[in-house]
């Protein structure tokens, strides 16, 4: 006789609407504009993070604009036709919204400093409990420009992250995790894809409930949707978990116990807690600070190696790291270093003054940075194709 409890893994998978499947014979071009082997996802992340660092180092809208244009150019040229690549437009929209919100906030409740007045809006005083805040008021040019610039910088940052997402398949990126994190990585990938699946499910259920004549909005209609949507999600999670289980997910190498891993995990956690305490509390002995933290990290690392040995898995056609990858990642890193360096030599060029108001100039190094950032767009495609 055997008894067992239901498996705890709750995992998920996206799904397209079954109501409107694409017709047969309709073949999307999967490789999109970029034939050949895709660039390693981590290379794209390095490139995008380099640009993101560069963007945060400057307030000059022209420099940010140049970097942004380079980013968009690379995405348009290199992205494929995958769902996450199609989502790039959403990041651009989000960027626009951020600028609008930032400027809107300044006009509505922003702290109005001096300077030339652009529009003289009346100030609406608030009651005493909100002293210090006033609605509207005269809009000063420097303040408005500073708000717009801040919003623009934040928007550019978001677009950089979006570019990495559009160019690198997030699932392939997570495949680069070490073996010990493989199971966690799979769970994360699946959890990330839950949201679009929940949205399609919600749309389907709302549509179905309209058939009953339910046309209400408000909390009751949310409740009536929540139950079928969640039940659906749970069913599908269980089905996916069953599929993964029967295909060998989480198979461990026989004869190795997890006791050692638990011990190292506990040890490293303890060391991390003690080390942080030692670091922050000035009266504790010196050895309780950094040395204990470092020891904890070491224990954690060995635990990870131990755990990795229990996982017997291999990778099918891993993405190789070749010259192209180095060039792509290098472009991002060099752009970041160049702008960080320029911050020391020519701070005025990267942060043009708003009072007195001057038209920002473009330092030559910024042009070089933009060209470097756009370089991946011009790379030739490699030909040992994954996609044929």
């Amino acid at each position: 006789m055997v008894t067992a409890a239901p498996a705890p893994e709750l995992l998920h998978q996206p799904r397209v609407s079954r109501e409107h499947p694409a017709p047969r014979g309709w073949r999307p071009t999967w490789a999109g504009h970029a034939p050949g082997r895709p660039v390693h996802p981590l290379a794209w992340w390095a490139w995008a993070l380099g640009l993101a660092v560069a963007v945060t180092r400057t307030a000059n809208p022209l420099v940010i604009g140049l970097l942004l244009a380079a980013t968009v150019l690379v995405v348009v040229v290199r992205r494929g036709d995958s769902p996450w690549a199609r989502a790039f437009g959403a990041y651009l929209v989000l960027g626009g919204v951020i600028i609008a919100v930032r400027v809107g906030c300044y006009v509505l409740v922003g702290f109005k400093t001096g300077g030339p007045v652009l529009v003289g809006l009346p100030t609406i005083p608030l009651p005493d409990w909100a002293a210090g805040i006033s609605l509207l008021g005269p809009v000063h040019t420097p303040g408005l420009l500073a708000a717009a610039r801040g919003g623009f910088r934040l928007a550019a940052l978001i677009v950089c992250v979006g570019a990495a997402n559009a160019l690198a398949n997030p699932k392939r990126a997570l495949r680069c995790l070490p073996a010990s994190l493989h199971h966690v990585g799979t769970a994360v990938v699946i959890a990330v894809t839950v949201t679009p699946q929940l949205v399609t499910s919600l749309v389907r259920v709302r549509r179905a409930q309209r058939l009953r004549g339910q046309d209400r909005r408000g909390p009751r209609s949310v409740l009536s949707c929540a139950l079928p949507v969640l039940a659906d999600a749970l069913d599908r999670s269980l089905e996916l978990a069953a599929s993964m289980d029967s295909r060998g997910y989480a198979r461990s190498v026989p004869g190795r116990s997890g006791a050692g891993i638990t011990a190292t995990l506990l040890g490293s956690l303890l060391a991390a807690a003690l080390g942080t305490y030692g670091l922050l509390d000035g009266s504790s002995p010196v050895w309780l600070g950094l040395p204990v933290l470092a020891a904890g990290a070491l224990v954690a690392l060995s635990g990870s190696v131990l755990a990795g040995r229990r996982v017997q898995r291999t990778r099918y056609r891993p993405d190789p790291w070749q010259l192209r990858e180095s060039v792509v990642a290098g472009c991002g890193v060099v752009v970041a270093l160049l702008l960080v360096g320029t911050l020391g030599t020519d701070p005025a060029g990267l942060d043009p003054s708003l009072s007195p108001l001057t038209w920002p100039s473009v330092p030559p190094v910024a042009v070089l940075c933009a060209l470097l950032a756009a370089l991946p767009a011009a790379l030739p495609a490699a030909h040992q194709g994954r996609s044929r």
Binding site: M1, V2, T3, A4, P6, A7, Q13, R15, V16, R18, E19, H20, P21, A22, P23, R24, P28, W30, P83, K171, T186, I190, R204, V205, R207, A208, Q209, L211, R212, G213, Q214, D215, L223, C225, L227, P228, A231, D232, R236, E239, L240, A241, A242, S243, M244, D245, S246, R247, G248, Y249, A250, R251, R313, T314, R315, Y316, R317, P318, R386, S387
Partner: protein, 541 residues
């Protein structure tokens, strides 16, 4: 290869076992078919064979299941992954990665095979199942049949000796189902894979089976050769019913078997006068008129210029391959789906109305739709609660929905949770809720998914009652035998256009894909169902 030794399964919280003392042995290289009414434990039997019962589902398993010599008591499903491959009825729900090639490799990655081996096996499986054109495409963009073949390939790369397939063709149109079944039989014949397969639509698979396990509904099972087991099985495909009616022994399992023996029967039938219509439809007034209907979803032109009249008193079936626009057509007719052009008129006592112009509550009084997943409509925790809310929403007298439900599905315990109902009962509940508003037009999208033969027969009767009351029914279905039994008129949709529109006989008899088994056997006689044959024989002089 697979051995069940006195296996009983009882799920947690249940008093009666789902399987009761089942013992059977499936030899290497056999294709074993598991049949039985809904809820008789087919899935449980299949899941017990791959260790998911009880390791994944919970519950208590008594007895012993051996697969390839391994006992499922001390091997979890993941430890059996190299011996047994499992494919479910919804392949998309089981996909872990997002491109076909990665999906093929996923199982091997988990088993820790060397990269060179993986590379070679992926290429082999791609050639074996003809997946070359699909390998780098996103799984979500594939058609149902293609997805099912990728799912098969994904378990085959681990080179299991047993395949467990739970209704692999239930969501597929007849052509795609053939494609998948051809791949399965090829595996059995050429590679000697043992297959354990459950299916409701026996007409599709019974001819390929070497061995059959019939579950009787009380947890017990009989097994043996298909033609023997069908002698007294509760569920049987039309071809077997025809064989029983004609007194053939051994019972025919394929159209070919039956056609070789049909000559005397056909002569008797040809002499009988009743070969001409069994049911005469008096077309009433049009209750729904559609003119030049177009539906566009983004770049996809799903329905292109459909013209259609639905008359009172007729059941019309829409057929066509997956993605041909059947669902889009139904949703547009209901008024809540998108429509990019054309007119829809419903004749109501108050005059002609366009359902899209009405509020949701008004529209359902004119046209009701039961969608593909009926459970989306249900959200309360008891059947009686759903019935009471249904009455209130339809402005019907209290008890209307409940009475309809009893008429459609027989007695259903009122305190039961709708999710615990069988597929047939859940469909009946949704149908009752929708019929409570007494709409003149009823639309059904794939109503037979998961229904056994008895449930389909009951649905056919219900639809006949609806149209007898002056209504009209339009249903979309892949189920050829069901359509042959219930529809008066059949439309065939291809790429969004109506390419055929005629009586069920005209359209179905000559079609190579949509002809029911009886029509194939008795061709050129125009008889579609066993009932029609029985009626014709009854009047033979």
């Amino acid at each position: 290869m697979i051995r069940f030794e006195h296996v009983s399964v009882t799920y947690t919280g249940e008093t009666d076992p789902v399987l009761r003392d089942v013992s059977t042995q499936i030899g290497e290289g056999e294709l074993c078919l598991v049949v039985g009414p809904t809820g008789s434990g087919k899935s449980t039997l299949l899941r017990a064979a791959c260790g998911l019962v009880p390791h994944f589902s919970g519950g208590l398993l008594a007895g012993r299941v051996l697969i390839g010599g391994r006992d499922t008591r001390d091997h979890r499903p993941r430890d059996l992954a190299d011996v047994v491959g499992v494919v479910g009825q919804d392949p998309l729900a089981g996909f872990v990665t997002d491109s076909a090639e990665e999906e093929l490799a996923y199982g091997m990655e988990q088993l820790g095979l060397a990269p060179a081996v993986m590379r070679k096996r992926v290429e082999e499986v791609v050639d074996l199942l003809g997946l070359g054109a699909l390998r780098s495409r996103p799984l979500a963009d594939l058609s149902g049949g293609e997805q099912q073949r990728v799912a098969l390939g994904a378990v085959l790369t681990s080179q299991p000796r047993v395949l467990v397939l739970d209704e692999p063709t239930s969501a597929l149109d007849p052509a795609a189902a053939e494609e998948v079944l051809a791949a399965i039989t090829r595996l059995v014949h050429d590679l000697g894979v043992t297959v354990l397969l459950a299916e409701h639509r026996l007409e599709r698979v019974v001819q390929y089976a070497d061995h059959m396990i019939s579950l009787r509904g009380d947890g017990t099972a009989v097994d043996g050769l298909p033609s023997d087991v069908f002698g007294d099985s509760a569920v049987a495909p039309p071809i077997v019913e025809l064989g029983r009616l004609a007194g053939w022994y051994p019972l025919p399992l394929s159209v070919r078997d039956a056609r070789r023996r049909v000559a005397p029967l056909r002569e008797r039938l040809a002499r009988s006068a009743a070969v001409v219509p069994a049911r005469i439809v008096r077309p009433g007034a049009a209750v729904l008129s559609v003119h030049d209907l177009h539906v566009q979803h983004g770049r996809v032109h799903a329905v292109r210029g459909a013209d259609l009249d639905l008359r009172a008193g007729e059941v019309v079936a829409v057929m066509g391959r997956n993605g041909s626009g059947k669902s889009s057509l139904l949703w547009a007719l209901q008024g809540s789906g998108p429509r990019s052009g054309g007119t829809i008129r419903i004749t109501a006592p108050s005059g002609e109305v366009d359902p899209a112009a009405l509020s949701a509550a008004q529209a359902r009084r004119h046209v009701a739709l039961v969608p593909q997943t009926p459970s989306d409509l249900l959200y309360l925790d008891t059947v009686s609660g759903e019935c009471a809310t249904g009455d209130a929403q339809a402005d019907a007298a209290p008890g209307t929905t409940r009475a309809l439900l009893t008429r459609i599905a027989g007695p259903v315990r009122p305190g039961v949770h709708p999710r615990d109902l069988s597929e047939g009962q859940r469909l009946a509940l949704v149908l009752a809720i929708q019929l409570a508003a007494a709409p003149p037009v009823v639309l059904l999208d794939e109503p037979t998914r998961g229904l056994d033969y008895a449930a389909k027969r009951r649905l056919t009767d219900v639809l006949a009652e609806v149209v007898a009351g002056g209504g009209a029914v339009l249903l979309a279905s892949h189920d050829v035998e069901f359509v042959a039994g219930c529809a008066d008129r059949v439309l065939i949709l291809a790429d969004g256009e109506i390419v055929a529109d005629g009586t069920a006989r005209e359209v179905l008899v000559a079609s190579p894909i949509f002809a029911p088994q009886v029509a194939k056997v008795l061709f050129p006689l125009e008889l579609l169902t066993v009932e029609a044959v029985r009626a014709a024989l009854g009047t033979t002089p």
